[in-house]
């Protein structure tokens, strides 16, 4: 009786702590997904966008952060982009790529009549140079995703030829992110690694200045090929880390757009007549990872661990069955995210993931633990970051798992320490997540492939490895969808990475702003934005 009461009690406490009385999502009440608004805008003005954290280097080869990608969306266009449906569309490329030589050669036609912000002309040589820099520069954050690339060269003034070690279907999706950004060859020659302080690309806005920890200023680029469709004079990206401060600035009008707003702030913003909400489903996921073989560190060959969790898949399966994803979403995130049980979003235009999730099944969880013959309660240390959301999530997981026969001890840790310890394999379980990539491969290969760069869990399964390779070489959409469905099932059967929920990209803007676009990749696009007439 006492145990049965534990979950509702914890749930009630967390609701109280979150300061919410209702489990209904206010966002869905105002119309669900809303990626943009098409009201006409006037020319001129400065738009201030509040970012959740300070972007890192403004160099597409070295950049690592999601907020950095939002800034790039204003000043560095890519060979390909995503549309509101999540489909890949040409941006600086003139058309979608063509493959030949059994998928080992990819040809990309380059758009004509385009110039960089420093006046240099965009051509195939510039594209090839950027691709080669992404591939070879020491410390490049693009090197892994361009791993199969052998050489990029100009096959004509406006034709780029990319040679690959093996067929690599995710390449188009990869080129719709920072690896597809083209940098001015003149700026690269002049500044080299210091390009970050003098970035020059093709984009609606060009770089003006950056003040550390405060703001990045962009101004309308008159050389931009689509300049007549750009309305704003300037865009200022300000770093405001605290959600309530971001909201206060939106309310006072000091900023006009707030990026990555949390459920609590979104709820508050919906009561404000001068604010509006944009949102889109995320391509990423959030979940919980177990250490089943990370003995020597991430990226190294997994070894054998003696813990119950590592030895016994039935114990991990029991843990997964003890969790109620819908309730987690309602309690921790006020019903404003989506329950998830696979690495690929059902919204993916390339290979949609499964939409449904298994329900909580306590009797089966208990039965599995009994079959495994483990001593109850099973002790587990769950490492979580110190963010309020992670703490609440940990508390709810703790209460739910207790009912099945687990003794979860929460260990809140500062983020950098959490990264270090999980990377070194010093954990039983931890709350982990990923912002998501357009191609499903970007959500899977590095995380669950044997010795993958971000496989902190120590997963090593020849079937998973084979399916990852198959997904990379299968060209047709239906075939890929089949492969990724099999992959998701196989990953689920391992119960080493339990997918729990998918965030939504929430962006709050003032009502006098129109034309902002928020697609599945979570970036705030301001090319068409302006102040409503």
């Amino acid at each position: 009786m006492r145990r049965t009461a534990a979950v509702p009690l914890a749930v009630g406490l967390v609701i109280g702590a979150a300061g919410c009385g209702s489990l209904t999502s206010a966002a869905t009440e105002v119309g669900g997904v809303r990626m943009t608004d098409q009201r006409p805008v006037r020319d001129g003005g400065t738009l201030t966008v509040a970012l959740k954290s300070d972007p890192d280097k403004l160099d597409p080869t070295l950049a690592q952060t999601l907020v950095g990608r939002t800034v790039f969306a204003g000043m560095c266009e890519k060979l390909y982009d995503t549309d509101r449906a999540g489909k890949v569309v040409p941006q600086l490329a003139a058309a979608l790529p063509k493959t030949s030589d059994g998928g080992r050669t990819v040809t990309v036609p380059v758009r004509r009549g385009v110039t960089f912000s420093d006046g240099t002309r965009l051509d195939a040589a510039a594209v090839a140079r950027s691709l080669e820099r992404h591939r070879t520069l020491p410390g490049s954050a693009r090197a892994t995703e361009l791993g199969p690339l052998v050489k990029a060269e100009a096959a004509g003034p406006y034709t780029v030829r990319i040679r690959l070690k093996e067929p690599y279907v995710p390449l188009t999706g990869v080129l719709a992110d920072r690896a597809g950004m083209v940098m001015s060859p003149r700026a690269l020659a002049k500044y080299g690694k210091n390009f970050t302080n003098h970035p020059s690309c093709v984009g609606p806005f060009k770089y003006v200045e950056r003040v550390a920890g405060d703001r990045i200023v962009l101004a309308k680029d008159p050389r931009y090929y689509d300049a007549d469709k750009v309305h704003l004079d300037r865009v200022v990206y300000k770093t405001i880390t605290d959600g309530s401060v971001r909201l206060a600035n939106l309310r006072s009008g000091d900023v006009q757009v707030g990026d990555q707003m949390g459920p609590v702030e979104v709820r508050s913003s919906l009561t404000e007549p001068q604010l509006q909400l944009f949102n889109s489903p995320s391509l990423g996921y959030q979940g919980l990872g177990f250490n089943i073989g990370n003995v020597h560190g991430t990226g190294e060959k997994p070894g054998k661990l003696r813990t119950v969790l590592a030895r016994e898949p039935r114990v991990r399966a029991a843990f997964a069955l003890a969790l109620d994803r819908k309730l987690i979403n309602k309690v921790v995130f006020q019903g404003m995210y989506e329950p998830a049980c696979g690495p690929v979003s059902p919204e993916s235009a390339i290979a949609p993931g499964a939409a449904g999730c298994p329900e909580r099944d306590l009797p089966r969880a208990k039965k599995l633990l009994k079959e495994a013959g483990v001593k109850l309660p099973v002790p587990i240390e769950l490492k979580v970051s110190t963010s309020p959301e992670d703490s609440r999530l940990g508390q709810v997981i703790q209460a739910m798992a207790r009912e099945a026969g687990f003794d979860v001890r929460l260990r809140p840790m500062e983020y950098a320490t959490l990264l270090e310890e999980t990377d070194a394999g010093q954990f039983d379980a931890y709350v982990s997540g990923w912002s998501g990539r357009l191609d499903p491969d970007g959500n899977i290969a590095s995380f669950v492939g044997t010795a993958g760069a971000m496989n902190t869990y120590g997963i090593s399964d020849p079937v998973i490895d084979r399916l990852i390779a198959e997904g990379r070489t299968t060209a047709d959409r239906a075939g890929r969808a089949r492969v990724y469905t099999q992959l998701a099932d196989r990953i689920r059967d391992q119960h080493a990475l339990i997918y729990l929920y998918r965030q939504k990209n929430y962006v709050v803007a003032r009502k006098d702003v129109a034309g902002v676009r928020v697609y599945g990749d979570g970036l705030v696009r301001v090319k068409d934005a302006g102040f409503a007439r």
């Binding site: 300070d54 972007p55 890192d56 280097k57 403004l58 160099d59 070295l62 690592q64 952060t65 999601l66 020491p138 410390g139 490049s140 954050a141 090197a143 892994t144 995703e145 690694k193 210091n194 970050t196 302080n197 950056r210 003040v211 550390a212 920890g213 405060d214 703001r215 300000k238 770093t239 405001i240 880390t241 605290d242 309530s244 401060v245 206060a248 600035n249 309310r251 006072s252 009008g253 000091d254 900023v255 990226g299 500062e414 983020y415 950098a416 320490t417 990264l419 270090e420 990377d423 990923w434 912002s435 590095s446 760069a453 971000m454």
Partner: protein
């Protein structure tokens, strides 16, 4: 006087050296691999190795310290490992913001704190003293973050007299500068004003009961001359000491205030560097803050000797 100054200067240089060692070792003692924190989402082994190589993280700690001091002595504090921006430029652009914030907060604290402190002392036992004590207690008790948010809600949203965030240099637009700096200065200065008020009140009560004040009264000096010319002047030694010590707290308090009001100052620079394990930025910022702290204390010592020449003579012995 010059001998006293030289002695204090020599002590300051030694302190600064010790601070550099503590700063360097302390930052390296922080848990969390800086390469992992800097690598962000896409942390491939190659990228991690390149980050460690680029920032000399593979080298012996003594070699790293030697390189840090060598560069620092030539004024080169390196580039931020996270943003690639030169550390010195970032510090120089953050410095005026924090200095202005600290100066305004100090001004507020001195005017309010000394004023109410004197008032509370000369009107001891009356309603004025109770009121001043109550306000001081409130100033000490209210959390900075809460006060900041409340002031923003009241004066930037409900009655939009001030701005909620941002910084405009005084030289560019003095009115806009004040519109953005008044609320942060009130938030940061309120706690200090309370401390100064209590110290002033205590010191003034001591002075007012001292023999020299009785003598002054016997000589027939006016109440204003006694309070302003004798009691307050003698009480100021204690108050200046407190102000000097509190200036360090003011700079550390700026960390929270700058976060609330999104001011691109030292505090914000520091906190961002801590969370991203940006060693180069953190070293530069902490070293400069420590140097500033040492200089302020040196200035306070010099000020002592001006206010009370007995200290100078004692120090010169």
């Amino acid at each position: 006087m010059s001998r006293y100054l030289l002695t204090r200067l020599r002590q300051s240089v030694i302190t600064l050296f010790l601070v550099s060692v503590v700063v360097f070792a302390g930052i390296r003692a922080l848990p969390g691999d800086p390469a992992l924190a800097l690598a962000g989402e896409e942390r491939s082994p190659e990228a991690l190795a390149a980050i460690r190589e680029a920032y000399g993280l593979n080298d012996n700690i003594v070699v790293q310290y030697g390189r840090f001091v060598g560069h620092a002595l030539t004024g080169d504090l390196g580039t931020s490992a996270r943003t690639g921006l030169p550390v010195l430029d970032s510090i120089l652009s953050a410095l005026p913001v924090t200095l202005e914030l600290a100066a305004l907060s100090l001004l507020l604290a001195v005017v309010l704190g000394i004023g109410t402190g004197v008032l509370a002392a000369v009107r001891r036992g009356r309603a004025t003293e109770w009121l001043a004590n109550a306000v001081a207690l409130l100033g000490l008790s209210v959390p900075t973050f809460w006060l900041g948010i409340v002031l923003v809600l009241a004066f930037a949203i409900a009655v939009p007299v001030f701005a909620a965030s941002g910084y405009v240099p005084f030289g560019t637009d003095p009115v806009d500068n004040m519109r953005r700096m008044v609320l942060p200065a009130v938030v940061l200065g309120s706690g200090l004003a309370a401390v100064v008020m209590r110290q002033t009140r205590g010191a003034m009560l001591d002075s007012l009961s001292a023999d020299y004040v009785r003598t002054a009264r016997a000589k027939g000096l006016s109440r204003r001359q006694i309070i302003g010319g004798h009691a307050l002047r003698n009480s100021l030694v204690t108050v200046v000491t407190v102000l000097g010590l509190q200036l360090g707290h003011l700079i550390s308090g700026a960390v929270v205030t700058e976060q609330i009001f999104v001011l691109p100052g030292f505090g914000k620079l520091t906190i961002d560097a801590v969370f991203t394990r940006d060693y180069t930025m953190l070293q530069g910022v902490v070293l400069c803050t420590s140097a500033a702290y040492i200089l302020v204390n040196l200035a306070v010592d010099v000020l002592y000797s001006v206010i009370d020449p007995r200290i100078r003579l004692g120090g010169a012995r």
